[in-house]
Amino acid sequence: MTKKILLAFVLAALPAFAADSQWALQQATLTYHVSHPLHQSEGVSHAAKGKGVCHAGQCDFLIGVPVKSFDSGDSNRDLHMLQVTRGAEFPMVLVRTRLPESSSASATLNVDLEIQFAGQTAQYKQVPFKLETLAGETHITGTIPATLSDFKIDPPSLLTMPVKNDIPVRVEMTWRPQ
């Protein structure tokens, strides 16, 4: 009898520990932009993977992208980027955020982001994103106002002129509930 009561309690408690819903990142395009007096260059990655886990009305998201997956069309620049960002030592860029579950219905979102990159962690508050839901998929676009100094990266230089500190990252993602 005691065992049955215990089993009933355990079964009753299980839903409380289980996630309510999950999100999976279907597609992502991340583009960083670097400005130099002689060059404007962009590096693109389509290799991001992400997951969102919702519980009690809150969703925790984690997005990861390998540093070396960014392609600027110039292998020399990509290798230099990998070196200055210490991409072999810290091979992943990780983005974490927490959102209310109900926010997927909004057209715009202001998101607090925590980004781990180059061995540093930076917080970005209230970054605006646009949301569009089509055929069960949610498309998110926005730009993260990242800077080199946020991650203690020495600005690379060409012909003794350093690049600008601002390296905005354009984000285009498609999420699907699972």
């Binding site: 925790d60 984690l62 110039d74």
Partner: protein, 222 residues
């Protein structure tokens, strides 16, 4: 005889000068590198590790994203290789820029070195500047050739053109001084420059052009 002696003294002088520049260039980046050694990281706590167990039971982890382990693990040897490569290519870039100055000066000095109205002094000056250019070019090339390659990297973008140009200005930088010495000797004997030595000018122009194109290809976006 006197001209040869002057040429030798100028050549040795330029070699010493280029070695002095070289030693200065080497010491500065090394000092800078020593100063910018990363500070020791504080001991990692579960919260600042990307794949650490989260305090929240619902927070996804890096393992759940499904990246292969080799893609997420730190590789100190690879980072050291990248650091060495960047260090050597920075010197290559700096030396390449420095080499441009005597190269331009050599081209300008060539105007008084050839032709009927040339003088021994202008030929000596041209030869000395050419020697300096050759020395600095050699150091520049050394740092590009010796910079470690990163396995599995396919060369893409303007750097391809930069490397193709090296196949032109590299042999050119060997041929130009050899032809130049031949032309110099013929001129000093009072002869008109003849034979293969007469190719000194055209070879030098092609070499300087390829060098300039290589420099611009990685500096200015076309």
């Amino acid at each position: 005889m006197k001209a040869k002696g002057t040429h030798l003294i100028l050549g040795v002088g330029m070699l010493v000068f280029s070695l002095l520049i070289f030693s200065l260039l080497i010491s500065v980046p090394l000092q800078a590198q020593a100063q910018t050694q990363p500070e020791p990281q504080p001991p990692a706590t579960p919260n600042n590790l990307p794949d650490a167990p989260s305090s929240s039971k619902t927070e996804p982890t890096l393992q759940e994203l499904g990246f292969p382990a080799e893609q997420t693990q730190a590789n100190a040897a690879q980072q050291a290789l990248l650091d060495k490569r960047t260090h050597m290519l920075k010197i290559h870039q700096r030396m390449g820029l420095i080499t441009t100055a005597p190269l331009i000066a050599t081209v300008i000095a060539s105007m008084g070195a050839g032709g009927r109205n040339s003088s021994t002094t202008s030929r000596d000056l041209h030869a000395a500047l050419g020697g300096l250019t050759g020395d600095l070019y050699g150091i520049t090339a050394y740092y590009a050739i010796r910079a470690p390659r990163v396995p599995g990297t396919e060369t893409r973008g303007p750097i391809r053109f930069h490397k193709v140009m090296a196949w032109i200005h590299g042999p050119g930088m060997i041929a130009t001084p050899i032809l130049g010495i031949m032309a110099f000797d013929q001129k000093n004997k009072g002869e008109k420059v003849h034979g293969i030595a007469s190719a000194h000018g055209p070879v030098a122009v092609v070499t300087a052009g390829a060098f300039g194109a290589a420099l611009l290809s990685v500096s200015v976006k076309f």
